[in-house]
């Protein structure tokens, strides 16, 4: 019996029909070609409608009322939590809703410095002088700066893995980087610039061996491929609703249950307490402990609908579709003289963020020409400045694809780059 790997069928035209914004035109009537989903994705009708139905019918404060609306709101909120948890293979109690992934990383980093003055159960989160935090040179600022700041607050030292010339994580010094001194290993699952997909296994294993916590930045993986966080084994992971067809203003921090249970709170206030007196407070169990104040209720409902939408299409199909687009882009751009791909040049262990530079034209100017053709890409360092420095470039152009993009749009991108070369009189 031979397994025939199915090229999963994703009907791009049908998918596009669900996204109202994709029918609009820009710059004097050019159809929008949206290749900036790595920054933020678009929301399908189903998400907009779920959110609206909630607001028009059940909107009220969750976990705080005894009336019917409050009941419905709480159900909607917790039901969203269940679906998001199931989507990444974890328990609902392990899912904390944040405003974005950035807050999630900060939450863990601050909880760790808060551990200094918290109870004994928080001991394993404490960091101080002599301790080390390990990150990588390909991190988004969101998974770098909070750790720098944690070091600044606590006196710990930041260390990092380098990146190879072809944009892969250089794990050759793993045993000297991750040591008994290491408290946290924070790394990205998928680079938002290079597209590189990192295998968490060696890092998780080594971290576990030395007793360090692992924090996985899953912002660019969860939206684009099937991800089972439990299987990956990281202790914590973060991702953002707005990058996976959901609303802005909602993100997710996953934490292993026993860790969340021992971890001190971060934001404090209403809904996260157990008892409060003027003198002192005690705190609710997770996930409530980490959700202070009235939460982003309708946004979680929207995120739940986004997860349903993605599940219905199938994350395997999404990944497969993106792989086709990535292959097409790597080949079409690779053919252009004077274009250099920043990151792996094949689609293996690689996601659909394709960054490149064009000899003789600044990325900003390339982006402007593409924009004039209706093609929305991102230019700059994409919040990964150290990575750009490592790759020897100040900035790059990034096209990032999602389930609603078509091969036709990839071709338009390549044609647009040639047009930029023509306009600026470079290339042949």
């Amino acid at each position: 019996m031979t397994a025939t790997p199915l090229r999963a069928a994703l009907d791009v035209a049908a998918v596009r029909g669900d996204f109202p914004i994709l029918t609009r035109t820009v710059r004097d009537g050019k159809p929008l070609i949206y290749l900036d989903s790595g920054a933020t994705s678009q929301r399908p009708r189903q998400v907009l409608e779920a959110e609206r139905a909630y607001v028009e019918r059940s909107n009220s404060a969750v976990h705080r009322g005894a009336h019917q609306l409050a009941e419905e709101a709480t159900d909607a909120y917790e039901h969203a939590r269940e679906r998001v948890a199931a989507f990444v293979g974890v328990q609902p109690g392990e899912v904390v809703f944040t405003k974005n992934a950035t807050e999630g990383v900060n939450l863990v980093a601050y909880a760790m410095s808060n551990a200094a003055t918290a109870g004994k159960e928080a001991e394993r989160f404490r960091v101080g002088e002599g301790d080390e935090i390990v990150v990588t040179e390909m991190e988004h600022h969101a998974n770098l700066v909070p750790w720098q700041q944690l070091c600044q607050r606590t006196g710990a030292t930041l260390r990092w893995f380098g990146v190879t010339d072809d944009g892969r994580l250089d794990l050759s010094d793993i045993d000297t980087l991750i040591t008994e001194r290491t408290k946290v290993v924070a790394f990205t699952h998928q680079s938002n610039v290079l597209g590189t997909v990192n295998d968490p296994a060696p890092l998780v294993e080594r971290a576990r061996r030395v007793g360090a916590l692992t924090v996985l930045d899953a912002c660019q993986s969860v939206p684009h491929q099937p991800v089972n966080l439990r299987e990956l084994g990281a202790d914590f992971a973060v991702f953002s609703g707005h990058k996976m067809l959901g609303p802005s203003g909602v993100g997710v921090l996953y934490g292993r249950r026993e860790l969340l249970e021992a971890m001190p709170p971060f934001l404090t206030g209403g809904s996260m307490i157990e008892t409060v007196t003027m003198e002192r407070s005690t705190f609710a169990p997770p996930p409530q402990r980490f959700e202070a104040g009235v939460p982003m209720t309708s946004q979680t409902v929207g995120l739940g609908a986004a997860v349903d939408y993605l599940t219905k299409i199938g994350m395997g199909a999404v990944a497969e579709h993106e792989k086709q687009l990535t292959e097409a882009a790597l080949s079409a751009l690779g053919e252009i003289d004077g274009v250099r791909i920043v990151g792996p040049t094949t689609a293996d262990s690689r996601g659909a963020a394709v960054s490149f530079v064009v000899d003789g034209i600044h990325p900003h100017d390339v982006g402007q020409v593409l924009d004039s053709l209706g093609i929305a890409v991102r230019v700059g360092h994409h919040c990964a400045w150290p990575l750009h420095r490592r790759m020897g470039i100040p900035a790059s152009v990034r096209a990032s694809f999602y389930l609603y993009n078509s091969v036709h749009e990839v071709e338009a991108l390549a044609a647009g780059v040639r047009e930029a070369q023509r306009f600026f009189g470079v290339g042949k």
Partner: protein, 154 residues
């Protein structure tokens, strides 16, 4: 909504004339539970006699549901074996968390079946379970193995 379905006579009776109320000595385990949203609180003690629940005593303040539930609890578990008490706890928990879809067994839950109406109001489930959570925690404190706790309450 039918108020009477929630506030059954049995519940109001227990609320007005609670059974087993008061804190008694000696005891083997004790627990203080609070409902963080409404401030209801319950302090509960349990005394074991070998494998038997010899006494449950409690004090606290809260709504009719939380107080009546604690009263029903004492009726159901005092004089029973720990295992029996744990299975009542499991059955009661299943009932009130069941969103009105669980058919209660009167042989097991006795007056506790009156809480079937409460099960339809998720915001009140915590009230109904307050005493039971305290009971469970007190049992653990009294040395009952966590693994025997039976149904998870939370």
């Amino acid at each position: 909504m039918n108020l009477d379905a929630m506030y059954q006579e049995i519940i109001l009776d227990h609320y007005k004339n609670p059974h087993g109320r008061g804190l008694r000595e000696p005891f083997d385990g004790e627990s203080y539970q609070v409902n963080p949203t409404c401030g209801d609180e319950l302090q509960l003690r349990v005394r074991l006699d070998g494998e038997q629940v010899a006494d449950v005593s409690y004090t606290g303040q809260g709504c009719s549901i939380s107080q009546a539930s604690a009263s029903v609890l004492t009726d159901l578990v005092v004089g029973r074996s720990v295992d029996e008490a744990l299975s009542k706890l499991a059955a009661f928990t299943e009932l009130v968390k069941g969103r009105g879809k669980v058919e209660p067994d009167e042989d097991v839950l006795e007056d506790g079946v009156a809480f079937a109406g409460v099960a339809k109001y998720p915001a009140r489930v915590k009230c109904a379970l307050l005493g039971w959570m305290a009971f469970k925690a007190a049992l653990v404190q009294a040395g009952v193995d966590k693994a025997r706790e039976g149904a998870e309450i939370s």
